[in-house]
Symmetry: C2
Subunit: 218 residues, 2 copies
């Protein structure tokens, strides 16, 4: 059974998963929606509504079983499966992501690293050597790679995305500052860092403007 | 006049800004909401609604003046002002961000880089040397720093955020995998990379499940 869940709900699942993981690590066995609400700073009714999309996860008066809830949300997020990733672009950001061990704990295994810069070929990052871009397509086909991480300039991103989808990549985690056009069925998640920084700038600006308002207008 | 604008609208402004910047660079002078809608893959009515939050930006029948719209949205995002940033955590991710020139084009100037690791002290990244954490508070006070970028482990993030807010930081761009509690008036923008990767994983999972459904149920 596949029920259509809104991307807003999906967007909140990783945060539930993170908090439940911490509760589990702290040895907490059961938690009420009220208590979870207090810790996570969302309303208890929001939590219940979100969980109802997935059948509710157990009786609410008695509280949720933390371990069970953590495991079930992990399954919904597909974290019970192993994913093979390549990183395209072995610059600072690509290397930072390759070095981040926590992704591996969640079943995201980096298997390849590609770059156009010959100076980087053979460089080793956690046992994975940087390969020439020309080897990317074959590597994806031969190594059951399902996710490609793009940490390349936006001028290259469209072309590389198209190469990747032609060899059957399932998903692109896109750090290039451009919206990719991909065939239906290929999942894209954008991390547009500049957009994020601009939102921060907006909120600083707005707060300063509010402060400058004559009092009494608040 | 400060009107309350929803974060959903704010979230879309950087994308408008990005597309308008590209149109401007391509020499496009005027654009209709229909044409912008087609390029950006959102409805024209969404565009008009979003822009109406800011007074509409000019006659719609005649089309928008690209340069004007770009400049005005830039101002709303606070990009007509200069912001001084420090990066706390000079690991791969911190260095990647310090090396990213595009932020500077938008008025975000990196002025300091801090780390707990003495092996990194004095290391130069684009002319900015890595300093010990002990110098952070004084540096923020003396150099008019308004934004701190946290690229440190989550176990340290709360403590460092608290030090930063006590010396008057206005905003935190948080890459640590934790939700920060900050005083009112301090802006926080989170980039939770693991959350983003989990959403991608969810969408892969869901698409596979849909494919496996017997046909006719679609």
């Amino acid at each position: 059974m596949v029920k259509e869940i809104s991307q807003a709900v999906i967007g909140r699942l990783p945060r539930y998963f993170r908090y439940l993981g911490e509760l589990k690590d702290d040895g907490v066995e059961r938690i009420s929606s009220q208590e979870l609400s207090r810790i996570m700073n969302v309303t208890a009714s929001q939590i219940r509504q979100d969980f109802n999309n997935f059948g509710g996860f157990g009786q609410q008066g008695y509280g949720y079983n933390v371990e069970y809830l953590y495991t079930e949300i992990g399954k919904i997020l597909g974290l019970d499966k192993t994913h093979h990733l390549i990183i395209v672009g072995a610059g600072n950001l690509g290397q930072a992501l390759a070095n981040y061990m926590n992704f591996e704990r969640r079943g995201f295994i980096f298997t390849g690293l590609f770059d156009v810069n010959p100076a980087l070929y053979g460089k080793n990052i956690r046992g994975i050597r940087v390969r020439p871009m020309e080897e990317m397509a074959d590597f994806v086909r031969q190594n059951n790679v399902d996710i490609a991480v793009l940490t390349i300039p936006k001028t290259e991103a469209e072309k590389v995305a198209s190469q990747l989808t032609s060899v059957g990549i399932k998903a692109i985690w896109n750090f290039a500052h451009v919206d990719l056009a991909v065939p239906e069925g290929v999942q894209v998640e954008n991390v547009h860092l500049s957009d994020s920084l601009m939102r921060l700038s907006y909120n600083i600006n707005r707060y300063e403007a509010e402060k400058e308002r004559p009092s009494g207008q608040a």
